[in-house]
């Protein structure tokens, strides 16, 4: 191809560890043409971020670039002197980093953080810099009265846009975007991306876009590279990748992408084996409210996290609670798990209002009936204890069976969540297992008490795309085999659609819509639900781009 603006030739990066170095990037080579949008997709640990950070040479210790070339307009960045590196940074390549909250210095005002770049690289004086900063604010349309605010005073979306503004400060020809929207909600994400593409149309810079979300990339990338454990296994045009690409891993990725709209694919997740008996209510929430005190004991500001939420979960039914971060869905989960007390309202389990029968603390009986699986599989397991300990404790605590049987039972549990051979996994420590395996352990623990309801709070959001589906399958099977009811909490309509019988949509603590999953995804009523679905269905960005 003609003059690539950036061309990487068999790049190698290693992370030094106590044992032998970990080879994070292996002989990666690819070109990026002037003005194109190049996407790099891969799961966590695939080395995609390492690649981009080595372009700017900002990889923190203990990373070492052990080989290859990174040619920017023909100049090898890896050969540059330190001084030259300082200069080429930001003038020629800028970066929008993953979570903007961490990328911005919490104690410096936005104005300073932007101006610094201008002082150093452009040598502007205060007035000139200020003028420029204002321009940039207009560019990303943020009101000028935000100039002197500090990061913590801004919403996630705003912060991400500020970072974008900083990236644009010197109008570099090349901008790297490293998962710029992962931390954001779908709708905000959508706005940001839209903004980016808009600006690109206007300013015509080249974009290297990193993400784990292939769906997203397919929307606007022209060419896509797929990375797996440090190897760049495939580089292809978006359309080809969209069709499943050439590499079977790519196929797997594409295959494992449930979508919120379109015909339901029946190969993904087993449906409940239909034996139509009367739905028999298991757990019922009656106008549940929860508010938190924000700050100050003099006149505490209150945040109404959950606002009059009422719904029912029937025996061996999967209900999904869908909403963006801050919608209060996790609060509902913690309320049902009795980790926090509601401000008002009641929870009825098997027709009994538990706040009357056991007001202060949840009884053992309740604990046994209602179990929970948490979002972060590492956080939810205690790194100082073995898998065996994690499963053994609940059983002992609830005196489920006599000592002699426990060991075998635990092994079975592990097998039940596809952790075989169970004997091996029983003795492992959390840090010796992959995320998926950990999440399975967590599920097994919840399951081991033979509960009637399992609350699954975003059980897949921390996992890589390729294994999310497995977890969803396991949950589906649980319901079929142990006929346990599941409250599946997620921000991802698609997986909700496929796993749940019914979907409840939350927005800012309020229940906005409820319905059988296919119907709700089929024709949403509430405009918010519509937005969500729109944002989660292919082609949404293209549509908008056309009418640019």
């Amino acid at each position: 191809m003609p003059n690539p603006i950036l061309s990487i030739k068999n790049l190698n990066v290693e992370y030094i560890t106590q044992s032998d170095p970990n080879h994070a990037v292996k002989n990666v080579s690819f070109d990026i043409q002037k003005g194109e949008v190049f996407g790099l997709v891969g799961e966590s640990g695939s080395g995609k971020s390492t690649v981009v950070q080595s372009i700017l040479r900002t990889l923190p210790p203990p990373a070492i670039i052990t080989g290859g070339q990174i040619l920017l307009n023909g100049v090898d960045i890896l050969q540059m002197s330190d001084a030259d590196v300082q200069k080429f940074r930001w003038r020629q390549i800028s970066i929008v980093m993953q979570s903007a909250l961490n990328a911005l210095n919490p104690v410096l005002s936005i104005r300073q953080q932007i101006s610094d770049v201008l002082f150093i690289h452009k040598g502007l004086n205060k007035k000139e810099a200020d003028a420029r900063v204002r321009e940039l604010f207009d560019l990303i349309d943020i009101n000028h009265d935000r100039l002197d605010s500090f990061p913590h005073e801004l919403s996630g979306g705003m912060r991400q846009r500020i970072v974008l503004a900083i990236a644009l400060a010197l109008m570099p020809p090349f901008i790297i975007m490293d998962e710029p929207t992962t931390a954001l909600d779908v709708i905000v994400e959508r706005e940001i991306l839209f903004k980016v593409l808009e600006l690109r149309k206007e300013l015509g810079f080249t974009i290297l876009f990193i993400t784990h979300d292939l769906n997203l990339l397919l929307e606007f990338a022209e060419r896509i590279g797929v990375m797996l454990q440090g190897d760049l296994i495939e580089v292809n045009t978006a359309s080809v990748i969209g069709q499943g690409g050439e590499h079977e891993y790519t196929k797997k990725l594409i295959g494992s992408l449930p979508s919120a709209t379109g015909p339901r694919r029946h190969d993904l997740i087993p449906l409940p084996d239909k034996k139509d008996q009367e739905p028999e209510p298991l757990l019922e929430l009656r106008d549940l409210c929860k508010s938190f005190n924000l700050s100050g004991w003099i006149n505490p500001k209150k945040l109404l996290a959950v606002n009059d939420v009422s719904f029912t979960i029937n025996k061996s039914e999967i209900v999904s609670l869908v909403g963006e971060s801050g919608s209060g869905k996790s609060t509902v989960a913690r309320l049902i798990a009795r980790l926090i007390k509601p401000t008002s309202g009641s929870i009825i389990l098997n027709g009994k209002n538990i706040f009357e029968s056991e007001p202060r603390k949840a009884s053992l009986a309740y604990r046994r009936k209602v179990q929970m699986v948490f979002q972060d599989p590492f956080g939810s397991l205690n790194s100082v204890h073995t898998v065996y300990h994690h499963l053994e404790r609940p059983i002992k605590r609830h005196k489920l069976m006599d000592e002699s049987k426990i060991y075998q039972y635990i092994i079975d549990m592990l097998e039940a969540v596809d952790l075989s051979p169970g004997i091996v996994f029983a003795d492992k420590f959390p840090h010796e297992m992959s995320g998926g395996e950990r999440q399975r352990v967590a599920i097994a623990r919840a399951l081991s008490l033979k509960p009637e309801l399992i609350i699954a709070d975003e059980p897949t959001s921390m996992l890589d795309v390729s294994i999310r589906l497995d977890i969803l399958r396991i949950l589906a099977n649980l319901r079929n085999q142990n006929n346990v009811a599941i409250l599946f909490i997620t921000h991802d309509l698609a997986s909700a659609r496929y796993l749940a019988d019914r979907i409840i949509v939350l927005q800012n603590g309020k229940q906005v819509e409820e319905g059988l999953s296919e119907e709700l995804t089929g024709n949403p009523q509430h405009h918010y639900t519509k937005q969500l679905i729109a944002a989660a269905s292919p082609g949404w960005l293209k549509k908008n781009l056309e009418n640019l």
Binding site: V85, R89, M97, A103, V163
Partner: protein, 328 residues
């Protein structure tokens, strides 16, 4: 900004409670213990004492037999009206007179050495963290830690006897020489610094390591933060990243530590004062305790406590300006 004022008021409220607790403690502890100051004064004339004299003296010392609680409230009342009572050891001097000058010297000595060791330690810590594994980083911390391992007064004594008594480089005692007259004149100030040098030096020696280490550690954590990587990606010069982006943030937790450590540092200062017979509160306290001079002790304890609390409040204000997150 009103929220930050609210925050300051809240802190102030807390300090008020703290002060009250300290003073209460300070009132009751001595009175729980056996012995009675009057009897000690009388013991000074190892002879017959007539009851009237006893009664009269007790009254002049304010050692009434009224129930503790009653005494407690009068004590609080007097404190609020700034009346710390009459010293027994220095009878009939009002405690305030005795303490006032001593307090100034203590603050001068402890204050300067604290500020020196904090700022120097912070600077060293910053550099050490920045040049991790460098010469400074690998050599200084253990060395300073070793100095820090010695008891304050031990170093002080060795210093006094080698540099003061042995070599005669520094004065052996007091806050200023006989020749100069206190006041805002250069000779006096130079002399004061000269006299404070050795005590201050020993105190800095002992405390420097702690500051350096804590700064180094917070600095290292800060350097791991994304915004540092981002700042570097922005192509900002190293010095700027180090000072404006890293050190600027890393210093915040140390500041809080600074406020909290004041109490400990002051303790060290008191001991050092005793060694160098520096006319601060250190030796006064010892005297007060030996003579069971309740009023003087209470006065000292109060002033010291208030000094620490006041300093803490200043720290709060400083942090308020340094860290926008507290301004919410």
């Amino acid at each position: 900004m009103s929220t930050s004022i609210q925050y300051l008021l809240r802190r102030l409220g807390f300090y008020a409670i703290a002060a009250w607790a300290a003073l209460t403690l300070n009132f009751f502890i001595p009175r729980m213990m056996p012995g009675d100051p009057a009897s000690i004064i009388f013991a000074r004339f190892r002879g017959k004492l007539n009851p009237e004299a006893m009664v009269a003296l007790r009254e002049t010392f304010g050692l009434t037999d009224e129930p503790l609680l009653g005494q407690y409230f009068t004590y609080l009342k007097n404190l609020l009206s700034g009346d710390l009572g009459i010293s027994i050891a220095y009878f009939p001097q009002p405690v305030t007179e005795i303490i006032s000058t001593a307090l100034l010297w203590t603050i001068f000595l402890a204050g300067t050495s604290l500020i020196i060791s904090f700022s120097l330690g912070t600077l060293l810590g910053t550099l050490a963290a920045w040049k991790r594994g460098g010469r400074l980083d690998s050599f200084l911390p253990p060395a300073l830690a070793f100095f820090g391992a010695f008891p304050y007064f031990w170093l002080a004594m060795v210093a006094l006897f080698t540099f003061g008594f042995g070599l005669g480089w520094f004065p052996l005692r007091h806050a200023y020489g006989d020749a100069v007259t206190p006041g805002f004149n250069l000779p006096f100030m130079i002399d004061a610094i000269y006299h404070a040098f050795l005590p201050a030096l020993t105190m800095v020696m002992v405390s420097l390591g702690g500051w350096m280490l804590s700064m180094r550690n917070t600095m290292i954590t800060t350097l791991g933060a994304d915004y540092i990587t981002f700042a570097r990606a922005k192509g900002l010069p190293s010095k700027m990243v180090m000072l404006k982006y890293a050190a600027r943030n890393a210093i915040l937790p140390n500041f809080t530590g600074f406020g909290m450590a004041l109490g400990f540092v002051l303790s060290g200062a008191l001991l050092t004062e005793i060694i160098f017979s520096y006319p601060g509160q250190g030796y006064l306290l010892l005297e007060a305790v030996r003579a069971q001079d309740f009023p003087l002790m209470q006065g000292l304890f109060m002033t010291i406590t208030l000094a620490v609390l006041g300093a803490n409040w200043l720290v709060d204000i400083a942090i308020l300006f340094l860290d926008p997150r507290t301004r919410r």
